[in-house]
Every structure is written in structure tokens, then in C-alpha cells.
């Protein structure tokens, strides 16, 4: 997610940091672009306006423009303000010392409350708790059955409605059930409702008077547009909201809702839903999200993952070679092995700046693990000399390699052509400077954004 926003922002930042000196007009123009980028990403128009005003004020004051690197300072200001907009610090569920901890889920219809209920229950269980879910949505057809199913599949007890009892009463009984079963966390799943529906809002208030709630979480669909702010405000005013769960973040939503929540109601995003499976819930990390939006990719995550799998020195040496154009097929196979040990290629690329776009553009053409194995087989069928001097590979040798690797000559041809293109390109990139240190690596990552995976020399069908 956030791709389009980060793409647009990086364009603005490139033009700002590309110049030595900046005038007030430059800042004005840049900030107008930032505002439009935010609006296109569904950030509420009032939030966008306030954000840009704050950034502008900071940019024009405090000697920013007189500094040696005004562009970079502006990027930093935007980053700081984005982190603030996203909620500053990470927050956890409010577990009570006196159990049970009662969590209430509220939100519009179809925002994802029931799925989130099961996901949260699992998350609390991972943290050593014993959750119980209360099916208090008596409104939508088969909503209790949905929760019951999720409970059964994951061995989480569910308090089901019985007879004509109303949701507030169901919640109260759910608490009793939790005490009986010795559960220390109770999650209340309620019906989806419009924030302007007086009867349904009254029902939530009744739940609040009937049971003590410790954490009221508003479940918001990440794809929500301009109204997200009004919805959140109304729920907060009417029933009181302590935090937000942002769902369906695994799509390509541009995250306007994420950026607008804190400003709208002053409450942080606690969790994000990143898939339909009950395990796909992640604690929300504002700083990471901010750097992702700014187009730096989730470099932190990538570096962490890479450190677990890749020998850092080897990787740097390979990167050096890569950019110098002295990158042999052996190096390349080594890189592929390491990449593969980190997980599926899409996931890795997705964490690089612009990587998601690459994955998207490549679409079906994205090499699969199988393609990569084939590739490896081809290269391994070459002699060491052939690997370091691929120019010696003529027709008969190519046939031999194809035979040896169980591929076709066409596959081998494609690979060689791609490898050649990549080397040329890398040489061109590398010519602009080395890759030493963090800066160098960051630059290399940035340069890699421009690449089309089909040019990486992978034999893709």
C-alpha cells in the first residue's frame, strides 16, 4: 500500500532536493504538490490542509531555506510530521491487572469486525492470554455463525446469542461465561452500523452501561475515502473510541484513512489487518509506515530480514561487483540463493522502494520459484570459464547447457541476453558512485527502483 502516495511524494522531494537554494515560492509549489498527493491518497481534505500548513510553517521558519541542504531538511520535516500524523508511538492492548479485560469492536458495516475479532483473540492468546469472543451481532444474517466457525477452527470459545436477548444482555452474559471458563480477555463483536443511525448507536451506549469496557476499538476499512474522518469522529463522540484497527491493508489502498485517524480523533492505530487469514494481523508501527510512505521502502524490515539470512559482508561485496559491472554468473547465482532463503521474491521486492510497483508491473511475468530453479540449473551447467566469460558461449555450447540443465536453447539464449543487458545497465548505474556505507546502499536501492524485473536477466515466460 501507499505506493502511489510515495511515488508522488518522491517526485516532489526529488525536485526540491535537486536544487541548492530554495525560494519561498519553491516551497509553496512543493507543498501544493504534497497536498494534492495526500488528497489523491484519500487523506481527508481538512487534515491535508492542516498538515501542509504545519510543514510550510516549519519550512519557512528556523533558517531551513538558508541551510546548506534545504531540500533534505524539508524531507525530514515532512517525515517528522508524517510520523506525528500516524500517531507517534506504538500502542498495545490495554490488558487489565484485574481480569477479564473487555475489548469492544465497533464500526461501519463490512469494515471487518468479525474477522478482526478472531484475529485479536489469536493475538492475545499468543501473548499468553485466554480469550473468549462474544457474538453480539444479532443484526446481520449469519454473523454469529461466522464467529462460531472462526472460534471452532481456532479453538477459541464463543458466547453465542440465544433466544431473543438483545446485544447488551448478550455482552453481559458473555462476561459471565468468560469468568466461568476462566478466560481473561473478552472480545465483543458487534453489528456494523452507520454512525448516524440513532437506534443502533443507542445500542452501543447500552452495551457500555451494561459492561465495563477497557478498550473500544474502531474497525476501519483502509480503503475508506474522505468520510473516514467524520465516521471516526461520530463514533468517538457517541461511544468513545480508544484506538483503531485498520483492515484490508494487504490491498493497494493509499492509506488516507491511516493518515487521517490520529488527527481526527487523537487515537492511535493499534493493529492492522493484512490478509483474510486469522493470523494476518500486525501491530501498527508509525515510524515504519512513515518511511514507507516517503518512498524509502520498508528498508528497516528488509535489513532486519536480510541480516538474519544474508552474510552482510558478502552482500556488500556482491553489490559492489554488481554496480561495477564485474558481476559474474557465479555471483549472481549466489545472490539468487540468498534471496531465495529470505522468502518469496514478491515479498522481498515489495519491501524495496518502488519494489511493489515493480511487482505490479511485472504482474504475471514475475519469475516464480520454479523459474529461479531453472535459472540456477542453467548456470550450474556451465563450466567455470563459461560463467566468468559468457561471451564464449556459442551455439554448440548453448545446446550442451540446455541439455545438461533440462531446459531449451531458447531459455539459455534468453538468460544470456538478459544477463548482458543487466551488466551494461549496472555498469551505468555504478558509474555514478560507489556503494559504500548506508548512504551508498540507500542510493543503490533507489537506483534499483528504475529497473524492470524482466531486464534482470531472468528467463521469464
Amino acid at each position: 500500500m501507499f505506493d502511489t502516495l510515495s511515488d508522488r511524494l518522491s517526485t516532489v522531494f526529488r525536485s526540491l532536493s535537486g536544487r541548492g537554494r530554495l525560494s519561498r515560492d519553491d516551497v509553496e509549489t512543493g507543498m501544493r504538490e504534497v497536498r494534492l498527493a495526500l488528497l489523491e491518497a484519500d487523506v481527508n481534505f481538512k487534515v491535508a490542509r492542516a498538515f501542509v500548513d504545519r510543514v510550510k510553517e516549519r519550512c519557512l521558519g528556523a533558517d531551513v531555506l538558508e541551510s546548506l541542504t534545504p531540500g533534505q531538511q524539508i524531507v525530514k520535516i515532512v517525515n517528522d510530521e508524517l510520523v506525528a500524523l500516524l500517531g507517534g508511538e506504538q500502542r498495545r492492548l490495554r490488558y487489565q491487572s484485574q481480569p477479564p479485560t473487555v475489548i469492544l469492536l465497533v464500526g461501519l458495516q463490512g469494515s471487518g469486525k468479525t474477522t478482526t475479532c478472531a484475529k485479536l483473540a489469536l493475538a492475545t492468546r499468543r501473548e499468553g492470554h485466554r480469550p473468549l469472543m462474544v457474538a453480539a451481532d444479532t443484526h446481520r444474517p449469519a454473523a454469529p455463525e461466522q464467529l462460531e466457525r472462526l472460534g471452532k477452527d481456532n479453538q477459541i470459545p464463543v458466547a453465542m446469542p440465544d433466544g431473543k436477548r438483545k446485544p447488551p444482555e448478550l455482552c453481559r452474559r458473555g462476561l459471565e461465561e468468560a469468568r466461568r471458563l476462566n478466560c481473561d480477555v473478552v472480545i465483543l463483536d458487534t453489528a456494523g452500523r452507520l454512525q448516524i443511525d440513532p437506534v443502533m448507536i443507542a445500542e452501543l451506549k447500552q452495551i457500555r452501561t451494561r459492561v465495563t469496557i477497557h478498550d473500544t476499538l474502531l474497525v476501519v476499512d483502509a480503503m475508506t475515502g474522505q468520510e473516514a474522518v467524520n465516521v471516526a469522529r461520530a463514533f468517538d463522540e457517541e461511544v468513545g473510541v480508544d484506538g483503531v484497527v485498520l483492515t484490508k491493508l494487504d490491498g493497494d489502498a493509499r492509506g488516507g484513512a491511516a493518515l487521517s485517524m490520529k488527527e481526527a480523533i487523537g487515537k492511535p492505530i493499534v493493529y492492522t489487518g493484512v490478509g483474510e487469514k486469522v493470523s494476518e494481523l500486525e501491530p501498527f508501527q508509525p515510524e515504519r509506515m512513515a518511511s514507507r510512505i516517503l518512498g524509502m521502502g520498508d528498508v528497516l524490515t528488509l535489513v532486519e530480514r536480510a541480516q538474519a539470512h544474508i552474510d552482510q559482508k558478502q552482500a556488500e561485496a556482491a553489490a559492489q561487483k554488481l554496480l561495477s559491472g564485474r558481476f559474474t554468473m557465479d555471483d549472481w547465482v549466489e545472490q539468487m540463493r540468498q534471496l531465495r532463503s529470505m522468502g518469496p521474491l514478491e515479498g522481498i521486492l515489495g519491501m524495496l522502494p518502488g519494489g511493489r510497483q515493480m511487482v505490479r508491473q511485472a504482474g504475471a511475468a514475475m519469475p516464480t520459484e520454479k523459474d529461479l530453479s531453472r535459472l540456477e540449473a542453467i548456470v550450474l551447467s556451465m563450466t567455470p570459464q563459461e560463467r566468468s566469460h559468457p561471451e564464449v558461449l556459442k551455439g554448440s555450447r548453448r545446446r550442451r547447457i540446455a541439455l545438461g540443465s533440462g531446459t531449451t536453447v531458447a531459455d539459455v539464449n534468453r538468460l544470456l541476453k538478459g544477463f548482458d543487458q543487466m551488466q551494461t545497465m549496472m555498469k551505468a548505474l555504478g558509474g555514478r558512485g560507489g556503494v559504500k556505507g548506508v548512504r551508498g546502499r540507500a542510493r543503490m536501492l533507489r537506483q534499483l527502483q528504475g529497473l524492470d524485473p524482466s531486464q534482470l536477466g531472468l528467463p521469464v515466460r
Partner: protein, 321 residues
């Protein structure tokens, strides 16, 4: 609902409900739009206010700017000076985006096959329930293919809706193959000489290529049984969705050649302005709108009434209530 685009009594009721409900949003489009009436001149600030109003209605930066560009041209050409007249011109420009598209459901074949697709929670199952009710009211027999085999209890939900509307259901075990459900449903529909087959599918984000491929497979299964089908492939979008709706429409359209959009949850405070961009860019017409959770809360989309509701209180637009 197939013959006449909008029967008068429906239109009347729908418009009143739309404007009544849209009017509830205090900081909504209507209020923002009316506030521009207070400006005396058609200066940059007037256009800035309009831009914000359009964006607040989820029309998006690109579409809104394009609309205002056209408005500026008209204001110059027609020597418009008053905000009120400018707003009416804007409304006309918006109406033009919607203009001349056939919004009738194509249900003449027997059985007519309607496939409902969309992201998770947008309102597919509910819309099928309402649509079945409506078609039953027109004397058509309906059979529902409960092809959401993925989400827990989705089949139970579909069964309850079908029972409410008096439609038959064909369903398999949860976790089964949606293609197989649809195949059985079509065979049953042909055997029973049903008038309409409504296919409920599992919600999916348009970015999941494997799930989109699954939908194409379902479509191919349908074509194997009835080559001209599906007669309607409707994308269900909920009004609260922002710019992502356009991405959804684009990808679903590429994969399935959509015949229409259903815009649900218009009873909330969202205006669903994304459909403007969708119609302009993709030419896919909004055919139905969802105005609540009740079985009768489904209507034919009427662009004029929609814009009347948005612009309520401006110029000749009739007042709500």
C-alpha cells in the same frame, strides 16, 4: 426494472430518500457547495472551495480538476458571473459524465445470469438478496448460486437472504470449488427453467492475482454451460470507498469486462463520488444503488436524482422534504 429506466413513483421515493439521507451529513457536499454560494465573485477562491467540495465527495483530484477546468471554460464562454449559475453549470457537467449510458439490467435471456463481484464486505450477498426480492416482485423466478465457499458462514448468510426473498439456493460444502457450485446451479436453473441465476462470489481484493484468476475461471465455467452468459457482471462498490474504488473497477473490468456497478451504503454519509471517475474513465455504468440493510433498500441508479440530492438547495433543484 428492465423496461423503464426509472419508473416515476420509484424515482420520487428514491430522490426523497437520497436527498434526505445525503442531506444529513453536516460537513458534506451540500453544505460545502452551499457555502460557495456566499462568495460574490467567481475567483480562484471560489474554485478552490468547489475543488474541496468535490474532493470531500470522493470525486478525486484528477476528476475534480478536470470538471473545474470545463466549468471555467464555460464560465468564460457563457459570461457567467453568479455562483449559483456556475454551480448549475457544474452540475450539468457532472450530469454529462453520466449521460447516455444504458443502465438497465439485461435480463431477457432465460436463464439470465448475474454475477456479483467485489472486495470483502462491500455488500455482494446483501445486494443479491435484495435483487432477488426485486426480481421476484416482477414475477421472475430466481436461483442463487452460493459460490462464496471461502468466508466462514457465507453460505448461511446467503441462505437466509434467499429465504427472505423466496429464491432457490444451490450450495456446496464450505471450502469447496466455487466453479463447481456455479456449474451445478446453472444446470439446476436450466432444468427448472428459472428466469434468473444470481451468483454470489467471495470477496477479494483486486490485487490478489490468484483470486482474480479464480473469478475468470468461474466465468469460464458459466460460459461452458451458457455461452452468452454471464449477462450481467456487476462490481459492488461501497460508497465509503475512496480512490481505491477506481483501482478496483479498473482491475475487475480488465479481468471480467464488467457490465455495471452497484454502489452500496449510500444511506451513510459518503457520497460515492468515485463513480464519476469510473464512468468517465471506464464507461462502466452504475446500475443499482444500495440504500440500507432492508430487503427493499435497492434502487435503480438515476444520475439526475443523484445529482439533485448532492446539489440540493442550489438553483432549480427541488428542496428536500
Amino acid at each position: 426494472m428492465t423496461e423503464e429506466a426509472v419508473p416515476e413513483p420509484h424515482r420520487e421515493a428514491w430522490w426523497r430518500r437520497m436527498s434526505g439521507r445525503l442531506g444529513r451529513a453536516s460537513a458534506g457536499f451540500g453544505a460545502l457547495i452551499r457555502s460557495t454560494l456566499l462568495r460574490r465573485k467567481l475567483d480562484d477562491e471560489f474554485y478552490d472551495d468547489l475543488l474541496e467540495a468535490l474532493i470531500a465527495a470522493d470525486c478525486g483530484v484528477a476528476t475534480s480538476e478536470a470538471l473545474l477546468e470545463r466549468l471555467r471554460a464555460r464560465v468564460r464562454a457563457e459570461h457567467i458571473h453568479e455562483p449559483e449559475r456556475a454551480l448549475l453549470a457544474l452540475k450539468e457537467e457532472m450530469l454529462r459524465v453520466f449521460a447516455t449510458r444504458d443502465r438497465r439490467l439485461r435480463l431477457d435471456a432465460r436463464p439470465a445470469v448475474v454475477v456479483m463481484v467485489g472486495v470483502n464486505g462491500s455488500g455482494k450477498t446483501t445486494t443479491i438478496g435484495k435483487l432477488a426480492h426485486r426480481l421476484r416482485g416482477e414475477g421472475r423466478s430466481c436461483l442463487v448460486a452460493a459460490a462464496d465457499t471461502f468466508r466462514a458462514a457465507a453460505v448461511d448468510q446467503m441462505r437466509i437472504w434467499a429465504a427472505r426473498s423466496g429464491a432457490d439456493v444451490v450450495a456446496h460444502q464450505p471450502g469447496g470449488d466455487p466453479g463447481a457450485v456455479v456449474f451445478d446451479a446453472l444446470q439446476a436453473a436450466v432444468a427448472r427453467r428459472s428466469d434468473c441465476v444470481l451468483v454470489d462470489t467471495a470477496g477479494r481484493l483486486h490485487t490478489k492475482t490468484n483470486l482474480m484468476a479464480e473469478l475468470v475461471k468461474v466465468r469460464n465455467v458459466i460460459r461452458r454451460v451458457i455461452p452468452e452468459a454471464p449477462h450481467e457482471t456487476l462490481l459492488v462498490i461501497e460508497a465509503p470507498t475512496g480512490m481505491n474504488a477506481i483501482a478496483q473497477a479498473r482491475v475487475f473490468h480488465e479481468a471480467l469486462a464488467l457490465t455495471g456497478i452497484v454502489l452500496t451504503k449510500l444511506d451513510g454519509t459518503s457520497k460515492g463520488g468515485t463513480v464519476l471517475a469510473i464512468e468517465e474513465e471506464l464507461g462502466v455504468p452504475v446500475k443499482l444503488v444500495g440504500l440500507g440493510e432492508g430487503i427493499d433498500d435497492l434502487n435503480v441508479f438515476d444520475p439526475g436524482a443523484y445529482l439533485d440530492a448532492l446539489f440540493a438547495g442550489v438553483g432549480e433543484a427541488p428542496q428536500p422534504e
